[in-house]
């Protein structure tokens, strides 16, 4: 067993998977069912599935698709996108989702976090934070798939959500998303110190050494999107996942 999890993040848009760059230009990468089947065969331990348009389209999670994906997956799945009330969370857990990931709703509905953490346990409720540097090089918080800038301090927001019951934080850097240039280590170093709950970092992974760097900087788990779905200079769609041995060697 790896001490640090290496988790593919898959982005759902309508019924297909896409991959964005800096949260823009979604490139279609195919059918989620087939992707999950391939990740099964690659013996991936965990998946994160984010519906990137649900909140902005003001709609419910795509339960039908989520159910299809979950029923095909051998591994636990964390789901995020469009979650803003308790009955949705109940329904997602009933479908077999292992963890729910809350982003936009966490800015106005702390009650949702505390209630669901109370019912399902802290480990099942993940806070996702999307962070981007502003013009002056200062980290800023965003919600709604990077569309809405927030005034609250990142640190305050994370502490507040953790205090309300979030058992894990998914820390995502918008500027690095899809670039494969490496994680923002400064960001990881800083925000992993402010809380005791495990941090999953995302945004920028391009090769296996990036994982080791992120863990050294303070991440508990690492996540990647582009790295696991693109190949070569044309970013040809081709799913891959590092060999277990390679990860073990680098991360343990």
């Amino acid at each position: 067993m790896l001490r640090h999890r290496v988790i593919p993040t898959l982005l759902l848009k309508n019924n297909g998977l896409v991959k964005t760059t800096k949260f823009k230009n979604p490139v279609y990468i195919g059918d989620p069912i087939n992707a999950v089947k391939i990740f099964n065969d690659k013996e991936v331990d965990e998946l994160i599935l984010l519906d990137i348009t649900a909140t902005n389209d003001k709609r419910e999670p795509n339960y039908k698709k989520i159910e299809e994906i979950v029923s095909e997956a051998f591994m636990p799945i964390g789901y995020g996108g469009g979650i803003n009330n308790l009955s949705q969370i109940e329904r997602l857990f009933k479908l077999g989702i292992e963890k729910v990931i809350i982003n936009s709703a966490a800015f106005y509905n702390y009650n949702l976090i505390s209630k669901s953490a109370e019912i399902y346990g802290n480990q099942s409720i993940v806070l996702a934070v999307d962070i981007k540097k502003d013009f002056f090089g200062k980290y800023r918080l965003y919600s709604n798939s990077g569309k809405e800038k927030k005034k609250i301090l990142i640190k305050d927001h994370i502490i507040k959500c953790v205090n309300n019951g979030c058992g894990e934080v998914y820390l995502n850097n918008i500027d690095r998303d899809g670039t494969m240039l490496g994680y923002d280590l400064e960001l990881i170093d800083y925000y992993s110190r402010i809380t005791d709950v495990p941090i999953i970092v995302s945004g920028g992974a391009g090769k296996v050494v990036h994982f080791a760097e992120a863990i050294k900087a303070g991440a508990d788990s690492v996540s990647a999107g582009a790295m696991f779905v693109f190949q070569g200079i044309y970013r040809a769609v081709l799913i891959s996942y590092p060999k277990y041995k390679e990860l073990e060697h680098l991360l343990n």
């Binding site: 309508n14 019924n15 297909g16 279609y28 990468i29 195919g30 059918d31 069912i33 087939n34 089947k37 391939i38 099964n40 065969d41 690659k42 299809e68 095909e72 190949q231 070569g232 200079i233 044309y234 040809a236 769609v237 081709l238 799913i239 891959s240």
Partner: protein, 368 residues
Amino acid sequence: MQREYQICKRCVMDTTDPDIVFDENGFCNHCTNTIKRLNEIYFIDPEIKERKLDEIINKIKLDGKNKDYDCIIGLSGGVDSSYLSYLVVKKIGLRPLAVHLDNGWNSELAIMNIDNIVNKLGIDLITVVLDWEEFREIQLAFFKSSVVDLELTSDFAIFASVNQVARDKGIKYFLIGSNYSSESIMPQSWYYGSKLDYLNIKDIVKNNSMVKLKSFPKLSFLQYLFFSKKGPKNISILDLIDYNKENAKKIIIDELNWRDYGGKHCESKITEFYQKYILPNKFNIDKRKAHLSSLICSGQIQREKALLELKKTTYDKDNINEDIIYFCKKIGINEKKFHEIMKQPIQSHYYFKSYQKMKKQLITLFGK
């Protein structure tokens, strides 16, 4: 009237091909033609073959001078295309661009093989991803229509996509993995003869589905007529070497970490399911007969061994239900519907509109 069962005495083709003809020795038209053709192109003086290969390679290299790539390879992850990549890069020294079609049915093995090939050989790759929501409807329409060639849709898509990439990048040659030594025999009624017939696809879909063809590649009648002139030149390099499938497999396993998936064309889940279940059960077609007969003709397998191979069922009865369930789920029907469609009578591709028919009419009108 049911024809009496007969099997060829030289290869393993039989009367499941309704058009098969036997001579007085009990030899069928397939192997007779193939052996004749093999003597012309395959079993020839190796020196002549080599000279021919050199000629073509020099031409490809010359035309590709000062370009990023001199040829395109279609990469499926199967034996032929994998070996072709190895041969072309390591032995011949060409600079191919690989194009892969993702039709939503890739197996992990295929993906892994492609990954190994492009990384180990340093080939640039482009993947054409078909929109699954649309392509699913296209395939479902084909399945519902009960025409024999369910794979026409993917075959067309790869040719159309390669053509597009070739044009974008100014590449003149398309090296294909198909080869006479292992694929010479295929009865006409077991597939649709024109892989470029967009009209046939369109009309079959129109008659069996509500889906609009939007992102699926298109081809006009004019493009269809002049495809061979305008498109990249197709070259089967494997016909110009002493191609032996088993040896090829060994080489790519050693050199490229290639993994075997068992069965011809089983790199794609749909091809596998189509060949082992849909074709035998609905169309009474066992494509292994054609593959094995091809290998018998080129001397790569003995007839006795091929017959033994055919004694095995096309699929594993214990596991087939799982495959059926997956197929239904992927394509979006329930199992009851699946079995209903399996029982529906077979329909000819020519029942629908086609460029092939249009071309024939044109020829009758204006002569050749």
